[in-house]
């Protein structure tokens, strides 16, 4: 909300620099987001007097003027047709920022520089209304008041001496959505009470009650409706001071009546509306709900469809305004309006919010009503408007306020305990201290017992309803920075269980293995996400099509990242992500949380060369064994040997081959190469290997407790064996036989080579193993090893049809 410093000063006297204002109000909870010194806008602009006008020697349309800018006379080249000697004009001097470029650059501002125009030096520029940002007239220079004195800063001449602050008012503080509201808070800072404007009314003898009637049919949604009637007024533009002050806080001036209602809104925070009295059927105001599907044209010319929830202001025949949101076109103030009815009502906040949301229409009025207006201020606000309208538009103010107020609001009294206040804030304030703090913000305290305070809340503070609200006010007025900063020493660590330890360790492990961590946003585009082939969880109101569906697999979002990197020249990729995916559970209602399953996943991606081009590392394109190696290393670290890989028959749609991972017999994920069809869709023309694992399965299989096994006391012996077997025989058949038969002396078997070619023939292959023999209780003799080897060779021959190669 914009507030004007000059305006605030009408109610409270204070002398703050913009920095002080910002700091002090922010510390009171009214966050000052920015400030603008209006006089700075016309820095280097002065009032000038045109002394002479002469024709430009080289250009017919230009003139060269001698201009007195206060003390000195400067030559200024001017292209405006209306320039004449004797005029008072606005002169921008070199270095001034011209608000509007009327000759191009889309009207942007620019800095005025020294210029030679067609050979004549110009020491400034005479400005049009548009160039000054004061209006739309660009036909010639703006001619100022003849009485203006040459040399006067333009800001001073224009009355632009104000500072405008932008304050962010939190939703609970509707009382601060006005100049009076902010002035009240400044009063806390300067220890003074703000002064309300004096309202003196000149009422005619005719009672308003003879001219209009008010009837509230929905007392729940409209607890109070006050109105005043003015006759024989003259609609016209507002005086300059009113137009200026409204413009300065961002309100567009319209006419004297509407401007006054807006002025009172910005002054008191209470929304008003003026109706053309003569257009009210039977001069009657009825407040009631709309009919379902009823149509209504609001002031902005738009036709709106209403519901039975929408509260309407009606005359005897038809609706004339959407209560608390916007008036109707049918009773709008026009240039010919002479009689008016000013509405000053209180509407139920939730209903106004629902209506505003439903209509998609938020106005200054609805913004305040939905945050809670002040029910007690309706008459004061109506009177203030009546007074100003009479001053500006003349006319007769009919006697008396029409005030339908069926059930008078009872003041709210909140009980608050001194002990509780101190125990929440951590202070030791006395009862008297608390009472005087609350008094500063108009909370009147009666003490009912030693500890208990009875706090009467003024009607404008609708956010104070219970004890904790009073406690907050005490803390706020006492000053957060005056509250001691201390820490409690007794820390209970008993519940400090690390639930994220596995993720941390996996992350460190992968970084050690040369993977770069990526993080992708959960919301992605639907087409790519659906490549995973699972039903998607989608946003009902997505921000954009690129962020419309949640991932069912980390792979799909990673493909976009692979593509991005490839497009930017990084083709050798080793990436990992720890992230969540979301699955839609069949058969559960979409409005139940059970319909959605969140899973934490680990993703590995490798593509391109095995290692970046580097000295001593032969470059080689990665293949599925690289991925298998990475996955095996990870699983061996966390799950020892409690895992295995199984061919899955295209179980997952994403990769080919798709190799399933089982940990302790439970499915934990898969790895493989991204299917060509999918890679093609994303224009990725290189093999991408991925592995996706369920963190939960990894956690379940995580062997955190390790037990020490004694180190062997006797040396081990290594022997190599190579066999020729059928090319189709999986090597692990041979390996398994070696392990089984070699027990207990053969303690380790490592495949170190496979070969298929000329020496073996096409349908055969050679597999070579390094075997380690060891005994826990003695040094092995040659005969023992030979005996074990013979058994192994015999078994491989028999079980795998393997022939020993010499």
């Amino acid at each position: 909300m914009k507030v004007s410093q000059n305006w605030l000063k009408q109610y409270i006297n204070f002398k703050f620099t913009p920095e002080q204002f910002t700091e002090k109000l922010s510390m009171l909870g009214l966050e000052v987001e920015s400030s603008e010194d209006l006089s700075k806008k016309y820095d280097k602009f002065v009032v000038g007097e045109v002394l002479e006008r002469a024709k430009h020697p080289n250009a017919d349309r230009l003139s060269v003027c001698k201009v007195n800018i206060g003390g000195t006379v400067q030559e200024v080249v001017c292209g405006a047709p209306n320039v004449a000697a004797g005029q008072k004009v606005a002169v921008a001097l070199v270095g001034a920022v011209i608000p509007h470029n009327q000759h191009g650059d889309e009207g942007k501002s620019f800095i005025l520089e020294h210029a030679k125009i067609r050979g004549v030096e110009s020491h400034g520029m005479m400005c049009s209304e548009q160039e000054l940002g004061l209006g739309k007239d660009a036909s010639g220079i703006l001619v100022l008041d003849a009485a203006a004195k040459a040399g006067t800063p333009l800001a001073k001449y224009l009355g632009q001496t104000d500072t405008i602050y932008e304050i962010g008012i939190t939703p609970n503080r509707s009382d601060c959505l006005s100049h009076i509201g902010v002035a009240r808070e400044i009063g806390v800072l300067v220890n003074k009470k703000m002064k309300h404007p004096k309202v003196i009314l000149k009422e005619s003898r005719t009672p308003a009650s003879k001219f209009a009637k008010i009837e509230i049919l929905d007392k729940e949604k409209c607890p109070r409706y006050s109105a005043r009637v003015l006759r024989n007024i003259k609609i016209g533009p507002s005086p300059k001071w009113l137009q200026d002050i409204l413009s300065s806080v961002g309100v567009r001036p319209i006419n004297n009546v509407v401007d006054v209602t807006n002025y009172v809104l910005m002054e008191t925070g209470h929304p008003l509306h003026a109706f053309d009295y003569d257009k009210l059927a039977e001069h009657k105001i009825v407040i009631k709900a709309a009919r379902d599907g009823e149509k209504f044209v609001t002031l902005d010319g738009k036709e709106r469809t209403l519901t039975s929830e929408t509260l309407m202001i009606c005359d005897a025949e038809r609706p004339i305004a959407v209560a608390g949101v916007m008036g109707g076109a049918n009773t709008e103030i026009s240039d010919t309006t002479t009689n008016i009815l000013i509405e000053s009502a209180y509407f139920h906040p939730q209903n106004i919010r629902r209506t505003s949301k439903y209509l998609g229409l938020s106005t200054e009025a609805s913004y305040r009503f939905e945050r809670g207006a002040d029910m007690n201020i309706t008459v004061t606000a109506a009177n203030r408007a009546a007074q100003l309208i009479q001053e500006l538009a003349g006319g007769d103010l009919l006697k008396g306020v029409l005030d339908a107020y069926p059930k008078k609001r009872k003041p709210i009294v909140v009980k608050a305990r001194v002990s509780r206040i101190n125990s929440i804030i951590g202070t030791s304030l006395s009862k008297m201290q608390i009472i005087s703090l609350l008094k500063k913000i108009d909370l009147v305290v009666k003490s009912s017992s030693r500890d208990e305070l009875l706090v009467t809340v003024p009607s404008f503070r609708n956010d104070i309803l219970e004890e904790i609200d009073v406690i907050e006010e005490v803390a706020r007025v006492y000053g957060y920075n005056n509250i001691e900063t201390k820490t409690h020493a007794a820390i209970d660590f008993s519940s400090n269980v690390r639930t994220d330890a596995l993720q941390d360790e996996v992350r460190e492990f992968l970084i050690g293995s040369g993977f770069n961590e990526i993080l992708a946003i959960g919301l992605q585009d639907e087409a790519t996400m659906s490549l995973a082939g699972k039903p998607l969880v989608k946003a009902l109101n997505p921000v954009s099509a690129e962020m419309a569906a949640l991932r069912t697999s980390l792979v799909t979002s990673a493909l976009g990242i692979v593509k991005h990197n490839r497009n930017h020249g990084t083709k050798d990729l080793r990436l990992f992500e720890l992230g969540n995916i979301h699955l839609r559970i069949d058969g559960k209602a979409s409005n139940s949380l059970e319909a959605y399953q969140e899973e934490e996943r680990l993703l590995l991606v490798i593509s391109g060369n095995h290692a970046p081009v580097s000295y001593g590392n032969a470059s080689r394109v990665v293949d599925v064994l690289d991925m298998k190696g990475e996955v095996s290393a990870l699983l061996s670290k966390f799950c020892l040997d409690n895992y295995r890989f199984i061919y899955y028959d295209t179980h997952e749609a994403l990769s080919e081959p798709c190799i399933g991972i089982e940990i302790n017999g439970t499915y934990a994920g898969f790895f493989g190469k991204i299917r060509k069809q999918i890679a093609d869709k994303l224009d990725i023309d290189e093999a991408v290997f991925v592995c996706e694992m369920n963190i939960r399965a990894l956690r379940d299989g995580w062997v955190r407790d390790r037990k020490f096994s004694p180190l062997p006391k006797f040396p081990g012996v290594t022997r190599d064996l190579a066999f020729t077997v059928d090319a189709t025989l999986p090597q692990n058949k041979v390996e398994d036989v070696i392990r089984q038969v070699g027990r207990p002396l053969c303690t380790n078997v490592v495949l170190f080579d496979t070969y298929s070619g000329q020496q073996t023939g096409k349908d055969k292959k050679s597999v070579a193993y390094a075997l380690e023999f060891q005994s826990p209780d003695h040094t092995l003799a040659e005969e023992e090893i030979d005996h074990a080897l013979a058994k192994i060779i015999e078994a491989v021959q028999r079980q795998c049809n393997g022939v020993l190669r010499s």
Partner: protein
């Protein structure tokens, strides 16, 4: 005799200098140092010298022999080295063989540091789901239905009353539902807002939530804990302030600001010329929240706080566009 010695030394030195090959050198050795060489001959000649001259002469001759041997050894070493086939010297500028180096995402790094600090203060780490119900995300956190406070967080809906959590605060409710006080936990995770993507805002971002509930927890302690955190995270010399604010689920509520460390509080573009940076929101847990989870609000008090991670990461690393964080460009990732 002495004259002879001086002459021999001179001749030896000259010849040695001239010797260009090992063969030359061997010639010189034979001529002077061999058993039948000139120096040996001088020793032989000493026998015929007067007895009184003998000690001094012996000393001089010994010195000559030592000198000649040392000179010879030195020259030999020199010639041997130059005679060897030239070995290419080790090129220290060759790169060492290495494996690729992995990196941790900058957002993770910031998150980990924050977690580490709070863990050291006795906070456990808890998690909750990203798809939430209106109840957990709003209602239980004292956001009344049809209250403008809901406008503070533009929501992405999945279904009726089912949404992507707009903050990590619903995890507070989940933690309190399953655990009796004392509760001391931080709750990191993703949150989502229906906001247009720009250099300053993304649809999704990370938050970290904190909660401490026990008997006798005060606002004063909230300040103490958060200041202790901020000093560890931002540096012990920072200045800070707490300013009243509004969150439906805490009261009194406060924003914590620290002096902008980019301009030292003088005001710059990043701190919007205020000299302050807003780093977290906090407050005392609202009694309505305790009622929602069945805690005795008279017996227990507590504080809660929350902060955004991305903004912190942007400030820490001097990144000016939030979107680059999730492009996951490897050239970017490798910088951290």
């Amino acid at each position: 005799m002495l004259e002879k010695v001086v002459h021999t030394k001179q001749a030896f030195t000259e010849e040695l200098q001239k010797a260009a090959t090992l063969q030359d050198l061997e010639q010189t050795r034979i001529k002077y140092l061999a058993r039948s060489g000139e120096i040996a001959a001088l020793f032989e000649g000493m026998k015929s010298a007067a007895p009184a001259e003998k000690p001094a002469l012996g000393k001089t001759l010994n010195e000559l022999r030592q000198y000649a041997q040392a000179q010879f050894d030195e020259k030999k070493l020199l010639l041997e080295q130059s005679a060897k086939p030239k070995e290419v010297p080790f090129d220290l500028t060759l790169p060492g063989r290495s494996k690729p180096i992995g990196t941790k995402h900058p957002v993770t790094q910031v998150m980990e540091e924050i977690k580490r600090i709070f863990r050291s203060m006795g906070f456990s780490v808890e998690n909750g789901p990203e798809i939430e119900s209106d109840y957990y995300n709003f209602e239980a956190l004292n956001f009344a239905p049809d209250h403008p406070a809901r406008d503070m967080q533009d929501t992405i809906f999945i279904a009726d009353k089912i949404l992507l959590r707009t903050h990590t605060s619903p995890v507070q409710i989940r933690v309190m539902e399953k655990q009796k006080p004392p509760v001391r936990a931080i709750m990191p995770g993703w949150a989502y807002r229906n906001e247009a993507v720009s250099a300053r805002s993304l649809v999704a971002f990370h938050q970290i939530e904190g909660l401490y509930v026990d008997e006798g927890v005060t606002f004063s302690e909230l300040k103490g804990t958060l200041v202790a955190f901020a000093k560890q995270f931002y540096g012990s010399s920072i200045k800070y302030r707490f300013r009243p604010s509004f969150f439906p689920f805490t009261e009194p509520s406060a924003e914590m600001d620290i002096t902008c460390y980019l301009c030292n509080g003088k005001g710059c573009r990043i701190c919007k010329h205020s000299g302050w940076l807003e780093v977290l929101g906090s407050g005392m847990v609202h009694p309505h929240v305790f009622q929602a989870v069945g805690y005795d609000a008279e017996k227990y008090t507590g504080y809660a706080f929350g902060m955004g991670i991305e903004r912190t990461a942007l400030l820490r690393y001097g990144i000016d566009d939030i979107r680059i964080l999730y492009e996951n460009d490897v050239r970017f990732l490798k910088q951290f």
